[in-house]
């Protein structure tokens, strides 16, 4: 199981590249501008990784997005981010 990070908004074609690189058990963590993807309006774009989608708490908070996020997106703070890198075989960053 790999961890993938995405720091681009969901309208970027980088999302499609990240999804192409993800295996069936891999997790996707949205960071930086990527957390815009946690808005409910974008749920369909992440359909392929439903249940495996995470967003970084600090980046949601600084953007005023924490209370607006889709509840299906799991929220982790930087400590949780580190835990995810520990328990994943490796981390691939998409930017």
């Amino acid at each position: 199981m790999l961890l993938h990070t995405l720091n681009r908004p969901p309208t970027s074609q980088v999302l499609a590249q990240a999804l192409a690189g993800m295996g069936p058990d891999d997790k996707l963590l949205l960071i930086e501008d990527g957390v815009i993807g946690a808005l409910p309006a974008h749920r369909e774009r992440f359909g392929r990784v439903a249940g495996r989608l995470y967003a970084l708490q600090e980046d949601l908070e600084s953007r005023g997005l924490l209370s607006l996020r889709d509840e299906a997106v799991r929220v982790v703070d930087v400590g949780g981010f580190i835990s995810m890198t520990e328990t994943s075989e490796r981390t691939v960053s998409w930017y």
Binding site: F81, I82, R90, T91
Partner: protein, 130 residues
């Protein structure tokens, strides 16, 4: 675990440097080894000795240097990416007939081989891009 960080963007252009610094600090606080931060592409600008951000903004160049001093984290800057972007230490400045330097210790100019070595040697390499 042994971690390495790869940072690919400049400090005051994108959030990448902020994210990398925050992540690295949290790694150290958790007891992990950080065997190196490698600066490549526009990430080499993190080593800009002359950076003078406004006083109410974090000084990221100084923050990296502090991390190196306090935790012994090597700060490795790709020399090829740095030279074309105007980031030279004293030695490289002399070699290119320029006066003055824009990179100073604890940042060290080094080759890309170090990145490959870090990435294959450490348990984890985490990349922060623009």
């Amino acid at each position: 675990m042994r971690y390495a960080i790869l940072l690919l963007d400049a400090p005051y252009t994108s959030q990448a440097s902020h994210s990398a610094l925050r992540f690295t600090r949290a790694l150290l606080a958790r007891g992990h080894d950080v065997e190196g931060v490698f600066f490549y592409h526009d990430g080499v600008h993190n080593a800009a000795r002359l950076a003078a951000p406004p006083q109410d903004e974090p000084h990221l160049v100084d923050a990296w240097a502090e991390l190196a001093r306090e935790h012994g984290v090597p700060l490795q800057v790709c020399i090829a990416a740095a030279l074309r972007r105007g980031l030279l230490d004293e030695q490289e400045a002399a070699r290119h007939g320029k006066e003055g330097a824009s990179v100073a210790p604890p940042f060290e100019l080094t080759g890309l081989g170090q990145l490959v070595d870090l990435g294959l040697r450490c348990d984890r390499l985490i990349t922060f891009g623009p």
